[in-house]
Amino acid sequence: MIDIVGLIASNLIWILAIVIGGTLISISVHFIPVGGAPAAMAQATGIGTGTVMLAAGAGIAGIIAAGAVMAVNQNIWVVIGAAAVGAAVMLAATMIVATWIYAYGVGVMPVSAKVKYDPITKYRQDLYVSQGTEGHGIPTVAYVSASIGGLLGGLGAGLAYYALMKVSTLPVTNLNLVAVVSTFTIGFFFINSVIPSYNIVGTIEGFHDPKFKKWPKAAIASFLASIPLGILAVVAVASLASVGGL
């Protein structure tokens, strides 16, 4: 039996880091243009899959980047920076390929149905929306928004990963530690990307979408949900060092 209270008390700072990470993940989801099934049929703006798949894909890319960097450099800024860039690159790559498919395969132009003028390029949008659709493709503003979302989500995932790695006394190159921490972070990322997707309800285009204003609710929800999850994760990861033979 291990001393749970002592473990929690001595790792409060890392629990806080995990909770902040979870909140960042939750906010990041609101930036990502999720179109779901309608977007897959080019009937709504965004990428044609669900919030969880996109956010989790980006988060896992971020965790891989963080894990790879952490083995050689344990500076917190380097680790979470790598995670943020890894997640943003993953999302950007997904979106550029999706844009090619929408433009050359489906034959629609990237256009937003939520704003009259693209806030970044100032191009007129409403004229190009096909009748009966909610926009299609990934317009510039949604692309930029998703890249910001990827950065934030990766930052959150990297922070949670870094905190959990620091909780254990095992060396950061221990494969078992890396595996357990990655598994935890992925589970944590899934939970914190599902909560905001229940807040968004359906599709969102990015920071210019009226639904974006709902983000504080999801941020509070994820903040609260991350506290017990952070405590459980810290206890499990810290007790890993006392298991023999790892």
């Binding site: 039996m1 291990i2 749970i4 779901g36 099934a37 669900g50 919030t51 969880v52 798949m53 989790a56 494969l175 078992n176 595996a179 357990v180 598994t183 935890f184 992925i186 589970g187 944590f188 990322f189 899934f190 939970i191 599902v194 909560i195 997707s197 229940y198 807040n199 968004i200 309800v201 359906g202 609710k217 999801a218 509070i220 929800a221 609260l224 949900a225 017990p228 999850l229 459980l232 994760a233 206890v235 499990a236 990861v237 007790s239 890993l240 006392s242 298991v243 023999g244 033979g245 790892l246």
Partner: protein, 262 residues
């Protein structure tokens, strides 16, 4: 929809909890005698997945506002964190039970938060997240013991997590819970067809985890055979239900050849 002979939620709850825990514990206590008995864990995982699929069916029919897969991923996410926590405490035989209870508690917390803070209007949200978290934890425990041959924290870490099989459990197990509703939803959805599909998917997960097992050739062979049997039986049942529920099943034949198109 024709005559409705539904299994009530509480029966499935009892089936999932009792079957799941019984399977995990039989495997836990019998595996030291003979590793072949890890297959009980697989049977427990199947019970848990059928229970979870029914909960997903009930909660997702209210309309989650996002895809059905989200709730399956949520279930396994909560389950993974709870299972690792429960096993890490080093409580011996109490570990799986602690993991299951912890998972239900996290599920309840997430359910209350999504109701009170996010403002979801689904009336059964709290009980549903509690139940799917419990089902997720039992599913992970059942398949983990098949792979590792033991629920000792160190063994589970080295054999299930470090090897990466946990992600196979995550996706294959999540698929057994979320896919049945996702593919059967609609006005003609029937419970027995959906549950048969869940058991069929769980059978695939059992075959995969049996293949990944390190508990010895005997355990591998027995678990894979049981998995194949479950898969074959419930695939047949599912196909029967599909034919029963469909208005008409017709054979469209092969695609026409180029000459026939002229």
């Amino acid at each position: 929809m024709t005559e409705k002979k539904m299994i009530p939620p509480n029966t499935l709850l009892a089936f999932g909890v009792v079957g799941g825990l019984l399977g995990v514990y039989l495997a836990y206590f019998l595996a030291p005698m003979n590793p072949i008995f890890v297959f009980f864990g697989a049977l427990g995982a199947v019970c848990a997945s059928v229970w979870g699929a029914d909960v997903v069916r009930r909660v997702a029919s209210y309309g989650l506002g996002t895809g059905v897969p989200s709730i399956g991923m949520l279930a396994l996410g909560m389950g993974i964190i709870a299972v690792l926590f429960g096993l890490s405490l080093g409580l011996g035989p109490a570990g799986p039970l602690v993991a299951f209870i912890t998972s239900c508690v996290i599920g309840a917390i997430i359910g209350i938060i999504s109701k009170k803070v996010v403002g979801m209007t689904i009336p059964i949200m709290v009980s549903a997240t509690t139940e799917i978290a419990g089902a997720g934890a039992l599913l992970i425990l059942g398949l983990s013991i098949v792979i590792a041959g033991s629920l000792d924290f160190g063994v589970v870490v080295t054999e299930v997590i470090t090897t990466g099989f946990i992600m196979m459990i995550y996706i294959a197990g999540g698929m057994a819970m979320l896919h049945p509703h996702n593919s059967n939803l609609g006005p003609d959805e029937t419970q027995d067809r959906l549950l048969a599909l869940s058991a069929e998917k769980a059978g695939i997960a059992v075959v995969l985890s049996g293949f990944a097992s390190v508990a010895g050739m005997g355990a591998m062979a027995v678990t894979m055979l049981i998995g194949l049997f479950i898969w074959y039986t419930f695939w047949g049942k599912y196909y029967g239900f599909v034919k029963r529920d469909a208005y008409k099943v017709i054979d469209v034949g092969m695609l026409p050849t180029e000459e026939e198109m002229q």
